[in-house]
Amino acid sequence: MAKRIDVSGLNAYYGSFLAIEDISMTVEPRSVTAFIGPSGCGKSTFLRTLNRMHEVTPGGRVEGKVMLDDENLYGAGIDPVSVRREVGMVFQRPNPFPTMSVYDNVAAGLKLNGKYKKSQLDDIVEKSLKGANLWNEVKDRLNKPGSGLSGGQQQRLCIARAIAVEPNVLLMDEPCSALDPISTLAIEDLIGELKERFTIVIVTHNMQQAARVSDRTAFFNLAAVGQPGKLIEIDDTERIFSNPSVQATEDYISGRFG
């Protein structure tokens, strides 16, 4: 299931503004890659180019190549809708569909993609909720609105919803920034389990989090406000946090800026 992502020469624009410039990197399958960097450095923008969500923003536009195994996401004839089915995403703020029940939230993606029998759906919903470590908490209220859950539960519900469609890659855009420490811990544990099955990319503001959950870490930076964000370096997490090869990375990690 899990696939390798290979980015080369990627630029992303908002209208005429170049937000990120010339990014190339490889994301290994069945691993967690963390993106860190100061605010506005384009790490979230870059993340959104990986499932073609960037172009949903008015004026959003991308140049370059993003290979998912052997297929270019920006190639001719590629349907962005199918891309997003293959590359799931979890957002900064938990966003379950407010009018749907817990069950329907998890089944939402499946229902889009064809017909399932009720028993099949039940199975997948249960499996996904278990996969998101949420099953025990919600199994008695599957038909209650998803918005009635706590913030951390909602975020795990969103993860369940994303993994229910068995994507190849799971993108997480600061998934814990709106959560309390205990919920954050639960999500971090979950990420550790999910990487057995998925390629995971996570944007985070929290360097301890990056150090805890990720195998590899990419550091993004920008020269000045109004300048495009760039990838400074990507390496094994341990190396980045102990002995980075670029001075700026070390400055950022040791808290000298950002």
């Binding site: 969500m53 199918s82 407010p98 009018t99 939402a108 969103c158 469609v165």
Partner: protein, 334 residues
């Protein structure tokens, strides 16, 4: 609350009340404040008095009329307050008002929701902005102009459509046509639909615009097409807004007077076919009968106006209840 007042009250009995009283007294005796509060509260009360007066006077005149009515006011099919004995009833008006409004809603609601979606989700941004602005302005076009346009431009164009409907759907009975000028309840419904389009569109558009980006992205990230995003995120979020917009439109359609009076060729009878003459509406009937009404005739019209008023109140009240209930539901996750 109780606890805090109980615990704080005992320790400070002697001095503070006096000081507080003084301060309170100063606040209320400051003439500027008193006058200003009086004025603004007075305005609020004035508004209540006006509403009470409307209810009282309309009810009183209506009671006068109904007491002299020799027929059943609600079920009679004729309007003859000058006859002896005077006989009049609102059955035909209720029928016409409801039928024309239903036609109007059936056309206007889906089309308006479509345009609102067009503006917010389909059109290129600039075009969407222009369309939104123009429709905003069109909401202000007075009904008399719609009436003039309806009778002089729209009605002549409907001959062909009426014949066509008669040819293919005449067998239903509802859409058969005897061949009079197309000035029936059906035309009124179409015209009302055009008139309430802007208002329903504007309100729905505002609601669609407020759909949180994150709900739409949730659907997008699951691999939803644009239509699926709308069905999963936009419409559920906007449902109460669409309902309230529709109710607003319905309120307008029910009470619309001049446009209907100009376009409809009224007949105080009920027809099965929507394309044949038959029926009138409350408001239209008041405007067109008022001219030659004697005192009892005027009271009878006021009585029918009261019924219209009550119907609109119910419609608006229902809309507000729906919104309030939806608000509780969606408020939990906002």
């Amino acid at each position: 609350m109780d606890i805090s007042t109980n615990t704080t009250a005992p320790p400070l009995p002697a001095q503070p009340p006096a000081a507080e009283q003084k301060r309170a007294a100063r606040a209320t005796t400051r003439p500027g404040d008193r006058i200003f509060l009086g004025l603004s509260r007075g305005s609020g009360i004035f508004l209540l008095v006006v509403m009470a007066a409307i209810a009282v006077f309309l009810t009183y005149r209506a009671a006068v009329a109904i007491s002299k009515d020799e027929a059943n006011f609600f079920t009679t099919f004729e309007w003859n307050p000058t006859g002896s004995p005077p006989m009049f009833g609102i059955a035909v008006l209720a029928f016409g008002t409801i039928v024309s409004s239903i036609i109007a809603m059936a056309i206007a609601v889906p089309v308006s929701v479509g345009i609102a979606l067009f503006i917010t989700h389909y059109a290129p941004r600039k075009l969407g902005g222009v369309v939104a602005y123009v429709i905003d302005l069109l909401a202000a076009v007075p009904s008399i102009v719609y009436g003039l346009w309806g009778i002089l431009v729209l009605v002549p164009k409907l001959d062909g459509l009426y014949g066509w409907l008669d040819d293919y759907f005449g067998w239903t009975g509802i859409l058969s046509w005897q061949g009079g000028a197309p000035r029936s309840l059906f035309t009124v419904g179409i015209l009302l639909a055009i008139m309430i389009l802007p208002i329903i569109t504007n309100v729905s558009r505002e609601v669609f615009r407020q759909v949180p980006q994150m709900h739409e992205e949730a659907a997008l990230a699951l691999g939803a097409t644009r239509w699926e995003v709308i069905r999963m995120s936009v419409l559920p979020f906007g449902r109460s807004g669409i309902i309230s917009a529709s109710m607003l439109g319905l309120g307008r359609a029910l009470g619309e007077t001049m446009a209907v009076a100009m376009v409809l060729s009224p007949l105080f009878d009920i027809q099965v076919s929507l394309l044949d003459y038959g029926g009138g509406t409350f408001a239209q009937n008041i405007a067109s009968k008022f001219n030659e009404a004697n005192p009892l005739g005027r009271d009878a019209l006021i009585a029918s106006g009261l019924v219209l008023f009550v119907i609109t109140l119910l419609v608006n009240g229902a809309a507000r209840m729906i919104i309030a209930r939806r608000k509780e539901y969606s408020g939990a996750n906002a």
